[in-house]
């Protein structure tokens, strides 16, 4: 998906010379197409994420559209106060690109697991917050939002092979993509872990459970109105995110349910509990946190049977 992001950015930069790409010394085997096409608009600031965001704000004030690239943890957290006090307070159109959210950097360990970025960005209502589900949607999302006013945070997957069947690269800002029309259960997912949610939908279908899957690729501007319409139709909704259960999609869904007095049970699947030293592949870590398609299928069946604890 970061390949899609860079591909999209190269196309955009051809049309708009305001586009600048900054990196804090990350993006090996990813950013080269941009760096080679537009060397005068590519800047490696060194291992200095705070500086990257501050410099981007200085560039944006003069009319540039700077994209700041790093791994999701570093992109979202190390420069967070700059994102808040420089970009948000100045309403400057910088773009922070957090790559490999969730467990995509699995064996790299907990320092590289991006589990808080969506929550942190949701706290800033002026930040447009986008987490595409797969390669094609990433390309569409970048091309639909690159010149928005104000700051944007993109949570971009690392793995370019991801594909959610039926999504077909569709992206509309602020709108969830609703796949299927099963009446038994609603699954909602965001970001690159959506392929696991889609896999669970297929496994559930094989067991006779008819599921609707909502891919929530925009978390801000709020997709609340569409979520309200969806959640009102289901007795139970399961949120799926490679993120802490608080602050992200699960919290958003709970807010919509509670504030509208919906009779819908929310089950939030994500990362909970204290951090541990246990590491491993992304597949292992998703399984460990109940986020792989098999675990999600089991969870869904338990929820429907009333045996979910």
């Amino acid at each position: 998906m970061r390949g899609a992001f860079v591909r999209g950015l190269v196309d955009i930069a051809r049309e708009d010379e305001r586009v600048v790409l900054l990196t804090a010394d990350l993006g090996f085997m990813a950013l080269e197409p941009f760096a080679e096409a537009y060397p005068e608009r590519f800047l490696n600031v060194g291992v200095a994420e705070q500086d990257m965001v501050g410099v981007a704000c200085g560039l944006a004030e003069a009319g540039f559209l700077p994209f700041c690239y790093s791994i999701a943890t570093f992109a979202s957290m190390r420069g967070y106060e700059f994102i808040r006090s420089a970009a948000v307070l100045h309403r400057l159109p910088i773009r922070v690109v957090g790559v490999g959210g969730g467990f995509e950097y699995g064996p790299a360990g907990a320092s590289h697991h991006g589990l808080e970025d969506i929550g942190l960005m949701r706290l800033q209502p002026q930040i447009c917050l986008i987490a595409p589900a797969d390669y094609s949607q990433t390309l569409s999302a970048v091309k639909a939002t690159w010149d928005m006013p104000g700051p944007v945070y993109y949570r971009i997957g690392k793995d370019d092979r991801r594909k959610v069947p039926g999504l077909d690269g569709h992206f509309e800002l602020g709108k969830p993509d609703v796949l299927g029309d099963g009446a038994d259960l609603l699954l909602l997912s965001t970001g690159a872990v959506s392929v696991e949610a889609a896999g669970a939908v297929q496994k559930l279908a094989a067991k006779g459970v008819r599921t609707t899957l909502a891919i929530v690729s925009t978390l801000n501007p709020s997709p609340g109105a569409d979520l309200l319409a969806l959640l009102g139709d289901f007795p139970v909704a399961i949120t799926v995110e490679a993120h802490r259960v608080s602050g992200g999609l699960g919290s958003l869904v709970c807010e919509v349910i509670a504030e509208n007095r919906l009779r819908c049970q929310a089950v939030r699947v994500g990362v909970s509990g204290p951090p541990t030293a246990v590491t491993g592949s992304e597949a292992y870590l998703l399984r460990r946190h109940g986020l792989d398609r098999d675990s999600l299928t089991t969870t869904a069946l338990n929820v429907l049977a009333g045996t979910y604890a």
């Binding site: 501050g54 410099v55 200085g58 560039l59 106060e81 700059f82 006090s85 420089a86």
Partner: protein, 263 residues
């Protein structure tokens, strides 16, 4: 011309009226702002896209900036009298919504990265405009400042001018006691900057020094400006408590008499 006396007088008047502190920090940069806003910064006005940029990275001295902007005619007397009032845009730290304030500041360590971005933007747009950033000495405690110091030198940003207000004080003590900075000029030099040591209260000397930068090294420039905290007010001079304290009526009367020496 804008004088350090005029800036200092407004700082005292408004601090007294609003009953707020940060007086000593504002007084220590009155001369630097008089030089910048009276004889250095170029541009047709606060909305001119090709104006020189100025970042007051030590945002807690915003009152001195408001005074300079008022003396330039960009903030009205009426607006000045709302300093720190309910509903005012003139807070203790400056916001870029205010005409003449290029960047909001208040969190130390933010200004230099912003200024590096502004200087890079000028170069990429092939503009001759410069970017000036005023940082406090204690702000050199911040790691983000040094990230930007390195990048500016690596990029040979000769259109960037940093001024360090070396008043030797910070919130809880003297800089030499809290976290040693010296030899600060040597540190900036070692990081690849063109370093000048100047008297931060000599307005004409500051203007001359900044003018001389145009023919100096192809590197970012830093003026290490030796200043006195609370400059002009004898009882505030180098007194830690005047970082935060507001003045009493008697303090205020004494201060007004003292700053007459700045005329």
């Amino acid at each position: 011309m804008i004088s350090a006396y005029d800036i200092s007088k407004i700082v005292l008047e408004q601090s007294m009226r609003a009953k707020v502190g940060h007086i000593g920090s504002s007084l220590s940069i009155a001369g630097i702002l008089a030089a910048l806003f009276g004889g250095v910064l170029e541009g047709k006005g606060p909305d001119d896209p090709d104006r020189d940029r100025f970042v007051l990275s030590k945002g807690h001295a915003a009152l001195a900036l408001y005074a300079a902007l008022h003396l330039r005619g960009w903030i009205s007397a009426e607006a000045m009298n709302t300093y720190c009032a309910d509903g005012s845009m003139l807070g203790v730290h400056p916001d870029s919504e205010l005409a003449g304030v290029d960047f909001s500041t208040g969190s130390l360590g933010h200004g230099l990265p912003l200024a590096v971005g502004a200087a890079l933007a000028a170069r990429m747009q092939r503009s001759d405009r410069r970017c000036f950033v005023l940082v406090s000495d204690a702000e050199c405690n911040e790691g983000s400042l040094w990230e930007a110091v390195m990048l500016a030198a690596h990029q040979h940003l000769s259109n960037l001018v940093a001024i360090v207000d070396m008043n030797g004080q910070q919130a809880l003590g003297y800089t030499k006691d809290v976290l040693s900075l010296e030899p600060l000029p040597a540190k900036w030099q070692a990081f690849g900057w063109d370093v000048l040591e100047v008297d931060g209260h000599d307005v004409a000397g500051l203007i001359r020094a900044i003018e001389s930068l145009k023919t100096r090294a192809h590197a970012p420039h830093v003026l290490i400006a030796r200043t006195e905290f609370g400059h002009g007010v004898s009882y505030m001079r180098s007194q830690i408590k005047w970082h935060y304290l507001p003045m009493s009526e008697a303090d205020y009367e004494d201060a007004l008499k003292d700053i007459e020496t700045l005329r």
